[in-house]
């Protein structure tokens, strides 16, 4: 397994306090992210709220009159359900074809539901990453984050989904490798948008700053993607679990990798949390 402890990644000076020059393994990043959330449980709150919303929307989609489909990934025997921005996997989906020629009130209802979830997911991701990076970004950064999230969600819908018939094992492996490479290079995009970078700068920086951490990030993508999918398969509560449990870890992991890369210029998320804890202790 690439990027795990003892697989060649450079040594970590002490768990939770990586030295400024070290590169974290996949496991280190996940441990660090979980530690961050344990020390600052507020980090889990935004996606917990969104998880409830995702479950509610799943229920509404199943009970209103507009056509819906079960999420494709849930019918797979195994799936890595990863989409650059922290977001859970809902148990239902609504294809754009179901919205065309709807009567106005049904159209408003259906579009409202489909806009509400990404909006909430976007805000939750932005709030969580902002908090983990202890940064302050304005509404422009938020709007860029939301636009990029909307593009990631809607473009596959408009194109009818990215579906490729894999005719051979080697071709399939090659395709997976290319997809993993692209996703690896986009891993830091949410953090860069949160810190105020423009789209082009964020893409360029994400590409540049993910170099040298490819195996770690690839490991994160696989683990997080499997977790999104695995928890979503839980009947009824899958949408909530996938969003409330995995998305905060994803968001904090993005912040952790970003902070590690920015070590020379910014303190780590753990440091931020500890400093917050310290400030809190001092005030008591």
């Amino acid at each position: 397994m690439p990027g795990t402890e003892g697989d060649g990644s450079e040594a970590v000076s002490s768990p939770g306090h990586p030295s400024p020059t070290t590169r974290l393994s996949t496991l280190d990043v996940l441990k660090s992210a979980l530690r961050c959330i344990r020390r600052d449980p507020v980090l889990a709150v935004p996606f917990a709220v969104v998880g409830v919303l995702v479950s509610l929307v799943d229920w509404l989609r199943q009970h209103d009159s507009v056509p819906m489909v079960p999420t494709d990934a849930l019918s797979q025997s195994v799936s890595v359900n990863y989409a650059v921005f922290p977001q859970g996997t809902a148990r239902t989906a609504r294809h754009i074809g179901a919205l065309v020629d709807l009567e106005t009130r049904y159209l408003l209802w259906a579009v409202g539901l489909e806009v509400l979830v990404p909006l909430a997911v976007g805000i939750a991701g932005w709030v969580t990453i902002t908090r983990v990076l202890d940064t302050h970004s304005g509404p422009r950064a938020l709007s860029r984050y939301l636009v990029a999230l909307a593009a990631v969600i809607s473009i596959p819908q408009l194109l009818g989904g990215f579906s490729v018939d894999i005719t051979g094992f080697l071709f399939g492996l090659l395709l997976l490798a290319v997809a993993l490479f692209v996703l690896t290079r986009l891993f830091l995009l949410p953090a860069l948008l949160v810190t105020g970078s423009g789209f082009v700068t964020a893409l360029r920086q994400s590409y540049r700053r993910s170099r040298g951490q490819g195996m770690t990030i690839a490991g994160l993508i696989i683990v997080i993607g499997l977790a999104y999918w695995g928890l979503a398969t839980v009947p009824v509560a899958g949408g909530f679990l996938s969003t409330a449990v995995v998305a905060p870890v994803h968001a904090v992991a993005v912040g952790t990798v970003f902070s590690t890369d920015s070590r020379e210029t910014a303190p780590s998320p753990a440091d931020h949390i500890e400093s917050r804890d310290a400030r809190s202790d001092e005030s008591q």
């Binding site: 507009v66 489909v69 009567e103």
Partner: protein
């Protein structure tokens, strides 16, 4: 819908077709993916044809209004969709049941793509087994509901045209590996009449799916039923019978010594038109089963009736027209390609799917 009306009579009393001979009015050369063999349907000036996708053509010119490829093979059934501004087309393929937008959806600007052609994917068929993909089944619309056999299963389903939601589902021989898919249902006056191999003839309540009656016939092979005021016409491999609507009791049975495996009767003005798949097409009295006329006809067929003519495509390749009253053959038409679908009659024309194209035939 296929077979014209929910009862499946194949008789449209409001239209007429070519009477004495035919000539090609127009030919529409379909996209490469199109493979048409099922009956076209018409709504206003639009002709819908299923076949590895959906074609929508102008009935007067044959010009394509829209088309899209997909797993759709049956004749579509037009259903009202209360939450949409346009109708839904219920259609089936070997993979299951689908709901399509009767207006074809919307084109995406600056591309050759469109969205919104398919509204919903309904119940799906199981993975193809030893015998390959399942055959599509013909859906029927009645009382704002789509009724169809589910391809590759022993189930009939009633679906909401808005969403494809299953309103009710009934399955025969649930636990038996060897059994057959339901034929095209006949829906009339609150009842859904269905038949299936082996020996199955059943009536369900259209609103709830509750079984109204069930009969096991003597013969294994049973063809699609036709619902009439006098009773339910059921053709089996050798014979034709009429059963009561109320409890399925046998009113009469007429043995034609047939070998029928793939034909469907038509009923018009008290007469049943039925092939025996050996050597004849018969016109039988609906009241008694007595023969009114018999003419040579050696293949399978699903005839349609309009304005004094019976139009029957023999074995998917030769269109023949007979006088309703006498059985006298009026004309015969052989296309250059096979298969040729059952015709749809309207505005003095016959519309037929013919493999990679759609034909409109007019009076010569």
């Amino acid at each position: 819908m296929g077979r014209y009306d929910p009862p499946g009579t194949g008789h449209n009393p409001e239209v007429s077709g070519p009477k004495d001979n035919v000539a090609v009015a127009w030919t529409h050369q379909a996209p490469d993916w199109f493979r048409g063999s099922t009956q076209p349907i018409r709504r206003g000036k639009t002709l819908y044809v299923g076949g590895n996708g959906l074609l929508a053509l102008d009935t007067e010119t044959g010009k394509r209004r829209f088309s899209f490829q997909g797993p759709y093979h049956s004749a579509p059934a037009i259903a009202p969709a209360s939450i949409y501004q346009t109708k839904t087309l219920g259609i089936t393929g070997s993979d299951g049941v689908y709901g399509l937008n009767a207006s074809g959806g919307r084109e995406l600007p600056f591309t050759d793509m469109s969205v919104g052609g398919e509204r919903w994917t309904g119940p799906q068929s199981p993975t193809p087994g030893f015998f390959g993909p399942a055959e599509s089944t013909t859906p029927v619309t009645a009382n704002g509901t789509i009724y169809t056999a589910l391809p590759g299963t022993n189930s009939i389903v009633a679906l909401n045209p808005n969403s494809g939601e299953i309103l009710w589902q009934q399955t025969h021989h649930k636990d038996e590996a060897v059994s057959g898919t339901y034929n095209r249902p006949a829906v009339d006056d609150g009842l859904v009449f269905v038949t299936a191999w082996p020996q199955e003839a059943t009536a369900y309540r259209a609103d709830t799916g509750e079984q109204h009656w069930h009969r096991e016939l003597e013969e294994m092979t049973v063809l699609p039923p036709v619902a009439t005021d006098e009773g339910v016409v059921i053709q089996t491999r050798e014979s034709v019978q009429l059963r009561t609507r109320s409890d399925g009791a046998l009113l009469w049975e007429r043995n034609l010594d047939g070998n029928v495996t793939d034909s469907t009767p038509a009923v018009a003005n008290g007469t049943i038109f039925v092939a025996d798949e050996r050597e004849s097409l018969h016109a039988l009295s609906l009241a008694t089963g007595e023969t009114r006329w018999t003419v040579p006809f050696d293949g399978k067929t699903t005839p349609v009736v309009a304005d004094g003519r019976v139009y029957a495509v023999d074995s998917l390749w030769a269109l023949e027209a007979f006088d309703v009253a006498t059985g006298e053959k009026q004309f015969e038409y052989h296309p250059s390609e096979v298969p040729l679908s059952p015709p749809m009659v309207g505005d003095g024309m016959l519309y037929l799917a013919n493999r990679g194209r759609v034909l409109a035939l007019e009076e010569a």
